[in-house]
């Protein structure tokens, strides 16, 4: 009876975005699921392209969208030393403003990534941008600088020679920053109004790229920080540890997912945890069918969709049993997104597979933009936004 009482913890994602907005990495609540309907299924470099905007540099960050404004980052110049923050009108692709920063931290990284790797986050009134160089800036929607920090000046050993890429997320008025590295390694909770630290807690010393997932836990807003060796829920307001699970070979790139009372922790194998109200955890299932690579798993209607080396696997969220798998190719740096019962899978070579979900998958289209495509798609107000190496595409039926 006590056990039953302890286990009744529904792990709901926490988000407050307005309908149609896509405010952070993997959209509202970081779930990777959009409520939009009637999105295009087929497109090309010319078909169903409402507009296409040229970007001033490379990047693998996703665009975020709020109030009809798109915020996107890029890096340019020799060794990615110039950092760009752009605000683009979602209706027509016109640039509304652009601000630039000079990189203050190391720009060393794997050639696949970029200094513009973390995705910005917006509350609709402000946008918070982090670069792999540790340059962190907050702007209002008109491009006024609210505050700025050079994190590598504050903490000189947070360098990640492969390239930091985890994205900041918002929990109320606290900006959560995963700065987990081989040198100095910690998580920061930053006051969104001033940019000053609210809390700073040590984290495992190893390079890591996991964007935190936000959830409710015992009435508190908890941020799940995951590394290869553990997943820990920190109270978003003060950094206090609420619960923790130590594991082996957990993922250091994909984000954890939430479904009912389970936390799905990507790894090899992946683990489904039930978190009890006293903070203890129990393993409900483990599965090697759900592999931790680059892409984060997405949960939709009690099923988990996760990328394999060559396609997508569909698992029963309650049991971890594989229901089906489908070949889609390879090169899944971006995380899959689900909207209107369809899975959108962007691939490194530039094509996006659209798969109708059901008891068996059905590939509806494979849409090639003929440019490297490593950023996770964003969906807002009837349009799909794809950030390729050089462009931002708005994929939508022409008005």
């Amino acid at each position: 009876m006590r056990r039953l009482f302890l286990s009744v913890i529904l792990l709901l994602p926490v988000h407050s975005a307005l309908a149609g907005d896509w405010p952070q990495f993997r959209g509202p609540g970081g779930t990777g699921v959009s409520e939009e309907k009637g999105l295009p299924v087929k497109w090309s470099t010319t078909e169903n392209v409402r507009w296409k905007a040229e970007l001033p540099g490379r990047g693998v960050s996703s665009p975020v969208i709020a109030g009809g404004r798109i915020y996107v980052t890029a890096a340019s110049a020799y060794r990615d030393r110039r950092l760009h923050i752009l605000c683009i009108d979602a209706s027509n692709g016109k640039k509304l403003w652009e601000r630039q920063l000079a990189a203050t931290g190391s720009t060393q990284c794997h050639p696949k990534t970029s200094m513009a790797a973390p995705t910005p986050v917006t509350d609709g009134r402000h946008v918070y941008t982090l670069f792999a160089t540790g340059d962190l800036a907050a702007f209002n929607r008109d491009g006024d600088l609210l505050w700025y920090r050079a994190l590598e000046r504050d903490y000189p050993e947070i360098t990640n020679q492969v390239g930091m890429a985890a994205s900041p997320v918002l929990a109320g008025d606290t900006l959560l920053l995963p700065l987990e590295n081989a040198g100095d390694s910690f998580a920061l909770g930053v006051d969104v109004k001033t940019g000053r630290n609210r809390w700073k807690v040590p984290r495992r010393r190893d390079i890591n790229w996991v964007t935190p997932t936000i959830m409710n836990f015992r009435g508190k807003t908890a941020a799940l920080f995951q590394t290869a060796g553990e997943i820990t829920a920190h109270d978003a307001t003060n950094g206090e540890i609420l619960w923790s699970y130590k594991g082996k070979d957990l993922g250091s790139v994909p984000s954890p997912a939430l479904v009912d009372d389970l936390v799905i922790v990507p790894g090899t194998p992946s683990v489904a945890l039930r978190v009890l109200s006293n903070g203890n955890t129990e393993v409900v299932w483990k599965s090697r069918k759900l592999k931790a690579a680059y892409a984060s798993p997405v949960v939709y209607k009690d099923r988990i969709y996760a990328m394999t080396d060559i396609g997508v696997s569909c698992l029963d969220a309650a049991t971890g049993q594989e229901i089906w798998r489908e070949r889609l190719g390879h090169g899944f740096s971006a995380s899959p997104i689900i909207a209107d019962g369809k899975l959108y899978v962007a691939k490194e070579e530039g094509d996006t597979s659209v798969v109708e979900l059901g008891e068996q998958p059905k590939i509806l289209a494979n849409n090639d933009l003929k440019e490297p495509l490593l950023a996770t798609p964003a969906i807002s107000n009837g349009a799909i936004f794809l950030r390729t190496e050089k462009h931002l595409y708005c994929i939508a039926a022409k008005k």
Partner: protein
């Protein structure tokens, strides 16, 4: 007369307002430069940023000047304020103080990033700005302006090459090389000159240190050696034999690399080992006291010491290597100087984690080699690298 009198009256009445505004703008710039670690001073800087932007294009020269002695964080506060002013001004169809901007760019004692910023603003006003300014910037102290100047010369050299004029092309590429500091540009020039029958000593061009005394192995089991100051950190005696890892003798091994990028393979020179530390020691003679940068690349954890003072440490293993991956400022004395690198190898088993080595060069803040000579540690004979 009456009109003149009214104008004077208005001017007198406005004078305090103008002075207050000027004071406020100057104070605002001070506040932007006063931001400290962990966001200290951000609230005041936020208000100051708005005040500076409110001043409009007239504030641009002062913003640029303020960047001269601003640290990197403050410089970004200033940069974004300048960008916002320029964007608002050009969107409104108004002009920028072009003359003041060009004057600032031409004064090479100003901060290089600020001059480059002014150059970019000026280019938005006048697309012919590069043609006018870049020809004089091949040796510019601003890395970005210099890079563009090199590109301009490269474009001319390429044009001569395509016109089948090898002498002019050769001269052009040689000229470009005198300014080139960035690896990609130097590689391109070296390749083109090679086709034209000219060999370039790449290691000398970049200022790579080629002669080392390697002292190994010291213990780094479980990474313990990174923070242990083994005897070479207290002073290198080239002829000494130290007690090394597992009781092995650690004695100096002279090593000269012929690699164009100064690479030293410690597995080859010291024998393949894991969980070990190697020291690389070089004696550098400087013709004068000079501010330099030691720039190093390694897949291993590293510490750098100049004349016994630690100037950089990074405990990161097998996450990538690149030329100029680590940059540390130092001062070379006139005469004899000691450079010591500590290169730690861990015990990862993966095939990609077996590399143990490094490269290091001495250059200025732009990345151009500084003049120095290497003194072989076992003799007094010098080998010039300048």
């Amino acid at each position: 007369m009456r009109r003149l009198g009214n104008g004077l009256l208005i001017a007198i009445l406005l004078l305090p307002v103008v002075c207050v505004a000027a004071d406020t703008a100057a104070e605002a710039l001070v506040r932007l430069k006063a931001v400290g670690r962990e966001g200290a001073g951000n609230e005041a800087a936020t208000r100051a940023w708005k005040e500076v932007v409110r001043q409009g294009p007239a504030a641009l020269p002062a913003i640029l000047q303020a960047m001269d002695d601003a640290d990197a964080a403050s410089a970004n506060w200033l940069r974004t304020a300048g960008d916002a002013i320029v964007e608002h001004t050009l969107t409104a169809g108004k002009s920028l103080p072009a003359e003041a901007l060009e004057k600032f760019i031409r004064q090479s004692h100003h901060n290089g990033a600020a001059r480059r910023l002014a150059y970019e603003w000026l280019c938005r006003l006048d697309p012919k700005t590069p043609d006018r300014l870049l020809p004089g910037m091949l040796q510019d102290p601003s890395p970005e302006l210099r890079r563009d100047a090199v590109d301009a010369v490269l474009s001319q050299a390429r044009s001569q090459r395509d016109k089948d004029n090898p002498d002019a092309a050769r001269a052009g590429y040689r000229r470009a090389l005198t300014g080139a500091c960035d690896k990609d540009q130097v590689e391109l020039i070296v390749k083109e000159l090679d086709k034209l029958g000219v060999k370039v000593d790449v290691a000398s061009h970049f200022g790579f240190v080629r002669q080392w005394l390697l002292i190994a192995p010291f213990d780094n089991h479980d990474g313990v050696g990174f923070n242990v100051a083994y005897p070479p950190e207290k002073g290198v005696d080239p002829k000494a034999v130290y007690k090394g890892k597992d009781g092995k003798e650690a004695r100096g091994i002279p090593c000269t690399t012929t690699d164009p990028y100064g690479a030293i393979d410690l597995n080859k020179e010291c024998g393949k080992q894991q969980g070990v530390v190697a020291y690389a020691y070089a004696v550098i003679e400087s013709p004068k006291e000079q501010a330099i940068q030691v720039r190093a690349g390694t897949l291993n954890a590293i510490k750098i010491f100049v004349n016994g003072k630690e100037i950089l440490h990074r405990e990161e293993y097998h996450h990538g290597i690149d030329m100029d991956q680590y940059v540390a400022n130092a001062i070379l004395k006139a005469g004899r100087n000691e450079l010591l690198l500590k290169i730690c190898q861990n015990e990862q088993k993966e095939e990609w984690a077996q590399a143990w080595g490094f490269q290091a060069r001495l250059c200025d803040a732009v990345g151009a080699a500084v003049p120095f000579a290497q003194v072989p540690v076992n003799s007094s004979k010098k080998q010039s690298t300048d």
